[in-house]
Amino acid sequence: METMQPALKRGRDVWDRINMPKAEFLERVAKIQEQMERQGMEALLLYANNGNEYADPCYISNYIMKTPQGAIVAITREGEVALICEGFARDLPGVKAITWVEDVRSCEDVSRHAIAFLSEKGLIPSTIGLVGLEQSMPHEQFRFFLESTGSCTLIRADRMIRDMRIIKSQREVDQVRRSARIVAQAFKRLCQTTSSQFNEKSIEAVMGREAYLEGAEDARILIARYDGNDNRALRPCEELPISAHERVSLFLAVEFERYWAQGIKTLVLEKDAFVEPDGAFFRSLLNRIIEGLVTGKEISRFCSEASAQARAIDIHILPEYGLGQGIGLSLQEAPFLDEREAGRFQESMCLAIQLAARNKEAGSAVMGETVYLSRNGPEVLTGI
């Protein structure tokens, strides 16, 4: 789900070496080196420049940018790793505290510094794999990069990293599980909170406070209202009061130590507290959709089965948000659950499953859970 990007990631910022030890990153580097060898790459550059797209360089380094500033992780075939990040030199000690990479460099322009790194390593000319540069790097920086690497062979290597990230290690699953626990806790806290004057901002304050107190690095909240307003889409919270007996859908995504989980729940304000409406009608459909997550099943088939299940009980699935996608270092990552998707479900995927639906009698609802596809089948991690 697309959410509003904050001006700063301002939650708990640590590298927990037990949850995600250096060995985990070294394993990833070793796998990448094998792939580089196979594909004839002498260097690989992974780029990102904002708080929604930090995943690829973070996958190797554990570094995230907290504001919209560029960063590149550079890996040579020999296994040397450097982290080049835009920012001030005085921020370097803070960066070094959250990454195992020893060669950390701060700069004003990550493109120029990447070229300096490649030159220093004697890698111009060479064959260089690129992840994220063409899609996300500001055009002037990328043009400079292209001009400076005219003698090199450039290979798009996004697919290589995507295929690695799509299957989560046990440690990654545990991180998503921790994030999911915070999501569930924040919903629980909201339902325990009483107020005679709930408004959208107070919901955000209650849920955000709980998430950040539980150690969230980032928390994103969206709301949908069903009060006769034409626009029922999820959107950021505003200073608008909630009326008694009003139904709202709340989306909460939490990032804990780099990994995301999300949950969506529809609640009703009764007297002075939010309670769960009788949502069995929609909930049972969501449960059946989740049960359909089976290792080896084609994703397109899963999507068409979900639509058929809904039609059979006269529920119309609203197409806006889709049925979900992978979740992990990104809030939205492969696989994307779409009837056009060619892949199959695999063990150790983490998925954000969501259902926006309407029924003539029961009205509209949005709900969703974060699910781990384990050896024993789908396991709901959020359980909201």
Partner: protein
């Protein structure tokens, strides 16, 4: 003429003056405290998705293209622009819109610096692009009464954030828990974004995102408390000591307050922004800390705030020649490293007027302490 009509009218005048076929105002949906947010300024709508554009033709047609497509309804409600379309093929729909509006020669692009290569090249293949950030900067440089109302509200929220800082900065609380409490208080008060940084310890070197560290007696807790409403940021830089501060700490903080007071006296429409920095550095240098007023210890002595323009800019230092204008908003912060005390936070956001400066927040700038 409404606020929005005035903006559009000025934009059309500048499009005509520059001989452009029209203007694209682009956003990647990111917001940074040290950069203007042209798209948000012009539409009054803050986008979520990775690609968004306002298209303005020289004849006055205005079109809004929004990603993700399901956010177009919110855009229609929040923006004054009536012609809004959600898209899942941004480049394709943008090019179709440009052609429909006969923008096929030279177009200005505000926010081009954010554009990724594929998108920029996609446009450049079909037409000539001129960077046009200056068009929005020129319109937005002086804040309007409507913007000043929002800034006043944001300043009140900053005070609420500081009260939460003071209330919750106590022995045993972790840094991230402290920021969670400040954030919650400011959200409840209406903040729609927040840029808070902090540090704690008996000798700090910088402010940073919060860690697991628990506060202990004798800690100097420093914070940048920065709420935003409708894209307008207001900042307070504050220091709280846990315990009874010693004479050295008091003396150094008093020095910073004197530096702040000397600097804000220089703030007046028509004065160069550098005077803010020079006055600050003068007071601190006279006390024998001149070396610590410059890199690598210190970077900027302040910067502007705003949605459409952060003039006088992202850095106010001794060399900032930009002249301050009426109704600009700047933070003056003699945040300073001292070898005896470490890094201390001290600063506030001020409004530039023709008569001088106006402090926007109510909370006093001084060294605060909590009994332990």
């Amino acid at each position: 003429m409404s606020y929005e009509d005035r903006k559009l009218q000025k934009a059309l005048e500048l499009i005509s003056q520059k001989g452009l076929d029209g203007l694209i105002i682009y956003s990647r949906g990111t917001c940074f405290v040290l950069k203007p947010f042209y798209f948000y300024y012009f539409t009054g709508f803050r986008p979520m998705g990775p690609n968004n554009a306002i298209v303005i033709s020289k004849s006055g047609d205005v079109f809004l293209l929004i990603e993700p497509s399901w956010d177009a309804g919110r855009a229609s409600q929040k923006s004054w622009i009536r012609d809004v379309r959600g898209t899942s093929d941004f480049l394709g729909d943008l090019m179709a819109t440009l052609k429909k509006l006969n923008m096929t020669g030279t177009v200005g692009v505000a926010g081009a610096g954010e554009m990724p290569y594929t998108l920029y090249e996609g446009i450049r293949r079909e037409m000539v692009i001129q960077k046009a950030d200056h068009i929005i900067e020129e319109i937005a440089r002086e804040k309007t009464e409507e913007e000043l109302d929002v800034i006043g509200k944001t300043a009140r929220i900053a005070d609420i954030g500081f009260q939460a800082f003071l209330k919750h900065a106590r022995v045993g609380i972790r840094e991230y828990e402290l920021l969670a409490e400040i954030e919650s208080a400011m959200r409840l008060a209406g903040a729609d974004d927040i840029f808070n940084l902090m540090g704690s310890g008996n000798h700090n070197y910088a402010m940073h995102a919060p860690t697991d560290r628990r506060l202990v007696p004798g800690d100097i807790v420093i914070g940048e408390i920065t709420p935003a409403c409708e894209g307008q940021f207001v900042q307070l830089c504050r220091t709280v000591f846990l315990g009874n501060p010693g004479s050295v700490l008091k003396e150094k903080y008093d020095l910073l307050v004197r530096a702040l007071n000397a600097s804000v006296k220089q703030v007046k429409a028509g004065s160069p922004a550098a005077l803010i920095s020079r006055a600050m550095n003068g007071v601190i240098s006279e006390a024998g800390y001149g070396k610590y007023c410059y890199p690598p210890y210190m970077r900027a002595r302040g910067h502007g705030f705003g949605v459409g323009s952060i003039a006088p800019g992202a850095v106010i230092d001794d060399d900032t020649a930009t002249v301050l204008r009426q109704h600009q908003v700047v933070i003056a912060h003699p945040n300073q490293y001292f070898p005896e005390t470490g890094y201390l936070a001290c600063g506030e956001t001020i409004l530039v007027t023709e008569k001088g400066m106006v402090r926007l927040s109510k909370s006093e700038t001084k060294l605060y302490s909590r009994e332990v």
